[in-house]
């Protein structure tokens, strides 16, 4: 197995626990084998030390120096097009779809149910004819 995501300075990660759950942040420095310093100046996450258990590494990185300040990270994100790349990723799309589904009203859920029935009907007919 080849690893593609590493804990390294500039790695973009997603917080998966606590009040910043679901937000992106950038690894700015590595503290020790369990913790790293992250900065989420682009997403409203305070600069803080966080354990690796509470983050998930993404495929994205940005070019910053060790211990970079917020302004540098912002510039690096802009230069690397991190926000756009993230929005394009299937991970982000899945999260967005999940959020949309979670906010559906009762009527919307009914409409989805009807649409799904229609879809499966078409699929079933097609499968039968094959």
């Amino acid at each position: 197995m080849v690893f593609t995501r590493f804990v390294e300075v500039g790695r973009v990660c997603m917080i998966n626990y606590g009040k910043d759950k679901g937000k992106l942040a950038t690894i700015v420095d590595i503290v020790d084998g369990n913790k790293c310093l992250i900065d989420g100046c682009n997403t409203g996450v305070a600069r803080q030390i966080i354990t690796f258990r509470r983050i998930a590494l993404t495929d994205l990185t940005c070019e910053i120096g060790r211990g970079a300040r917020a302004a540098c990270i912002k510039a690096a994100w802009k230069k690397g097009g991190v926000a756009e790349a993230w929005a394009k990723s299937s991970w982000a799309k899945k999260l967005a779809a999940k959020a949309v589904r979670g906010n559906l009203s009762d009527f919307d859920r009914f409409k989805v149910m009807v649409a799904r029935k229609q879809k499966s009907k078409i699929v079933a007919a097609k499968v039968k004819s094959m």
Binding site: R5, Y17, D29, L57
Partner: protein
């Protein structure tokens, strides 16, 4: 971290209570690490008793305030010289920690001393602390994390919260098997 919370840095100033014979006794300033002011004052008198002939009943605290580190945005290397009483004797020690501020490093120290040596906070005395330049780091564990171009994968771990559930560590029982392999 003790039950009172993480450690803080206090500057305590105290002196002997003035008498008619000595209307203006000398004041002493000490930097104390303690989780709160009450413990900081108590520690001040503990150390003061050892250095000078004065104690709480015959002295007074003139001033106590918390020292907050200015730069809490960068990870720094901290070296801590300490002395502690083990079950069989007293030892001197030098330890290194990486943290954003000194108080964080001191908190780590108290935690580690408790874990590795079963040392209680009362038997630890901090002698000296200082930030250390990357070139001067001595301990191999710290050296690992100060090098340039450091990177490593996270091959095996449990997620702190899976599928919108509570963190695994907060649950007594769970129906979901934890995922331990992440890319």
């Amino acid at each position: 971290m003790t039950v009172c919370g993480p450690m803080k840095q206090y500057q305590v100033v105290g002196r002997k209570a003035p008498t008619e014979a000595f209307p203006n006794p000398e004041a002493y300033r000490m930097i104390i690490f303690a989780p709160n002011m009450v413990i900081a004052r108590s520690k001040f008198w503990y150390f003061m008793q050892q250095f000078r002939k004065m104690k709480k009943t015959t002295g007074e605290i003139l001033d106590i305030n918390e020292i907050v580190e200015k730069n809490r945005n960068q990870v720094k290397n901290y070296g801590i010289w300490l002395r502690y009483d083990s079950r069989s004797g007293t030892h001197n020690m030098y330890r290194e920690y990486r943290d954003l501020n000194l108080c964080g490093a001191i908190t780590q120290l108290y935690d580690e001393m408790a874990g590795r040596h079963r040392t209680r906070p009362r038997s630890i005395q901090i002698i000296r602390t200082s930030t250390i330049a990357t070139a001067d780091v001595k301990r191999p564990n710290t050296l690992q994390f100060v090098g340039k171009g450091l990177k490593f994968p996270l091959p095996h771990r449990t997620d702190s919260a899976k599928r919108g559930n509570k963190a695994l560590s907060d649950q007594t029982f769970t129906v979901g098997r934890p995922t331990t392999c992440f890319r």
